[in-house]
Every structure is written in structure tokens, then in C-alpha cells.
Amino acid sequence: MILSILVNEGPYTHQASDSAYQFAAAALAKGHEIFRVFFYHDGVNNGTRLTTPPQDDRNIVSRWSKLGEEHKLDLVVCVAAAQRRGIVDEGEARRNGKDATNLAPGFRISGLGQLIEAGIQSDRTVTFGD
């Protein structure tokens, strides 16, 4: 089955991102395909490579990057939500005159249409949020 996941909360404050990750890992282990993981609202903060959690804590961002790399996942950060919250890739930095980028490996920034497309292309879309 083809699944997509919507993550509406950032890491560390709400359990949403953790639950979404555990769900994604379980779905992949069962042989399902994940069409896309879409990060919206504060969920875009899952895509900053500048997080530095304590060593004995999970690294939510790099965990997504790693799962993405292993399973060729399409990890998409909503552009409008990202601009509001300062999640920047090279293209965005250039367009908006920013002096740095922080998008984590394996993530890409794109429009909200990607969420609608995920809903269209997937058999199921599951939302995690607050």
C-alpha cells in the first residue's frame, strides 16, 4: 500500500514527530511504500540540520534524514511555513537574501501542492500533530 504522512509539529515539544517516525519505520518494515512525508506548520522545524540534542537523547532530525536515505523517502518541507520559521535551503537563501542555510540532508523545500498531490497519489494519508 502507498502511504503518505503529514507532520504538523516540530521536534522535541510534541510527540507528533516521534509518533510519525515510529509509524513510518513500522510501515516500511511491513513492506509498504511511503510516497511522501510532508512537514507543515511547526513541523518544518524537523528539517533543520542545526539541532544539537544532548548525546543521550534521540536526534529527531538526523533520524529522519537517515530513514530518508535508507528508503529513498521524499521528505518535503512546506515553503510558506518554512519561510515564516526560518528553514532555508540554498535556493531560498538566494531568493530572499539570507546569509545562511539550515535544511537537513534528504529534505527538500516545496509548495503546499505537494501535500495535495500526496493525498491524491497515496492510498492513505495519516496526520500527526497536536
Partner: protein, 120 residues
């Protein structure tokens, strides 16, 4: 393109959190993708439609007008949960747009009929 039934369920009040505003953006994009988009308002989500938002004092942009403009995007299915309205002392006259009032159980059935339910 495939057309699917998308229902956007709004259960949170406006301004206190960003969900109401960003959910509207999903509605507009869904309409742009020519999907069968409907909106449901339940629990504190019905406060999103309360007319007369004056946001100058809190320094935030009011988005009440967007609900009125949904019709221009062919988004005409706005369902409001009757029980949620009653619990908040609201009647359809208090709302900024015409909506279809629906008993909770009927709204539940309508949800079952959707392809994608996005909840904010």
C-alpha cells in the same frame, strides 16, 4: 488528474494558534488542484467563522475575508457541527459566511465518505 474527496477538518479557534490560517492555505491549494474540497468546523473550530474579527489590537492579519472568498475558488461545501455551535451559544447568524449546519452524527457519516481527511 484524479479527483479525490478532501475534507479539511477545523477544530481549533483562530489566532490563539496558527492552524486555522494555515489550514485555509491547504483548502486554497486543494481547490487549485481541482480536488473535491469540503470544510468541516467542529469544537472550537466553529469560532473561526465568528464574524467581526478585529485583529488590529493583537497585531495579526485577519483572515475572516478568506472564508467569504472560498466561493470564488469553487469551495462551497462548508459544514458546521450543530452541537459545537450550541455548546458555544452561537447561531448561523453569528457566522461570517453561509454554511450548512449538520448534526454531529451526520457529519461523522460524511467524513466516512471522504478519501482524505486532513485535520488541523
Amino acid at each position: 488528474m484524479t479527483t479525490k474527496k478532501f475534507m479539511i477538518v477545523n477544530r481549533k479557534a483562530p489566532y490563539g494558534t496558527v492552524y486555522a490560517l494555515e489550514s485555509l492555505e491547504v483548502v486554497l491549494i486543494g481547490a487549485a488542484f481541482e480536488q473535491d474540497v469540503s470544510l468541516a468546523f467542529m469544537d472550537d473550530g466553529v469560532y473561526q467563522l465568528k464574524k467581526g474579527h478585529q485583529t488590529k489590537g493583537i497585531g495579526m492579519k485577519a483572515f475572516e475575508k478568506t472564508y467569504g472568498a472560498l466561493e470564488d475558488y469553487d469551495v462551497t461545501k462548508l459544514y458546521v457541527d450543530q452541537e459545537s455551535m450550541a455548546a458555544r451559544g452561537l447561531t448561523p447568524e453569528d457566522l461570517c459566511v453561509p454554511v450548512e449546519m449538520m448534526p454531529r452524527a451526520d457529519l461523522g457519516k460524511l467524513m466516512e465518505d471522504q478519501d482524505v481527511v486532513l485535520s488541523f
